[in-house]
């Protein structure tokens, strides 16, 4: 990727590299854990839907469950991409770092969306309870 003449690439310091390496490792761990949790919760969703009448589970709970599974899966995917991007950058692929930062921005955006939905649903439940 070419750089603009006005802002030449700056060298990263050792501590910044260490921070990026640490973040990459944690992100990979979270992504793998997220994939496992999304799979288990996705399988459990079938059981919950099947037993919803017997166990008195409301449709809003099922809806939040679906949102949760989709959110965890998508976030895990983006974190995995972030981890892979940082590792590629540390392996010498310079343009991989902006891609990794973009993936992390997507994680923030996904979390925003999930939080907005959760707040809206909690608000509705709160209004309904009064």
């Amino acid at each position: 990727m070419s750089e603009t003449p006005a802002s030449p690439p700056a060298a990263l310091f050792e501590d910044e590299i260490a921070q990026l390496r640490s973040a990459s490792g944690w992100a990979r761990f979270i992504a793998v854990a997220g994939f496992i949790v999304a799979s288990v919760f996705g399988l459990a969703l079938g059981l919950v839907v099947a037993a919803s009448d017997q166990m008195g589970i409301t449709s809003i709970v099922i809806l939040m469950w679906i949102f949760g599974v989709v959110f965890i899966g998508a976030t895990a995917q983006q974190l995995f991409a972030y981890s892979r991007g940082v590792r590629s950058f540390l392996a010498g692929d310079g343009p991989a770092l902006p891609r990794a930062f973009r993936n992390l921005r997507h994680v923030f955006a996904l979390t925003c969306l999930y939080m907005a939905l959760t707040v809206a649903m909690e608000g509705l439940r709160l209004l309904g309870s009064w």
Partner: protein, 164 residues
């Protein structure tokens, strides 16, 4: 020039600025303008996330209070208090790190490498915190599954037996 030791602290000349001789004492890895732009673009998203988390904490507190007002069971009251306190505590921790991230990324300028370091540090802190929370969450999920599977299974088997 670096010695190759990953634990070597940064030299004082590294903190003098970027470009020219100062940049040469950094690592071989370069931070492009595109990467910087991505960090700057993320700042408003992080700010919105902080706001939404604050609202979520407030809503959960209001919900807990309404539940407590209506509650007639001591066990339910205790469970509500515990889950609300845990949830609010965890989200407050996330909020603190996010605010640090947002404050640093809000001050990002191409000519200030020290701020860039703060953003990368906050980013690493955020991901590390999520990792630690994931470990706790996984442990809780395993514990809940270990308790719920026999309970729900027994309940369904019992209902089936009574129905027959």
């Amino acid at each position: 020039m670096t010695s190759g030791n990953p634990f070597e602290p940064p030299k004082t000349t590294d903190l003098d600025g970027v470009g020219g001789a100062a940049a040469a004492v950094g690592t071989k890895f370069t931070f492009s303008a595109e990467a910087l732009q991505e960090l700057i673009t993320a700042a408003p998203v992080v700010r919105w996330l902080s706001r939404l988390i604050s609202v979520s904490i407030a809503v959960s507190l209001v919900r807990a209070i309404t539940s407590l007002i209506k509650s007639t069971s001591a066990i339910f009251t205790a469970a509500t208090l515990l889950t609300t306190a845990l949830g609010a505590g965890i989200w407050t921790l996330v909020l603190v790190v996010l605010r640090r991230y947002w404050t640093a990324s809000n001050h990002l300028r191409p000519s200030e490498p020290a701020v860039r370091g703060h953003v990368i540090g906050a980013q690493a802190s955020y991901v590390r915190l999520l990792g630690i929370l994931s470990i706790i969450g996984l442990a809780l999920i395993v514990l809940a599954a270990a308790l719920a599977i026999p309970l729900v299974g027994g309940y369904l088997v019992g209902r089936h037996a009574v129905g027959r």
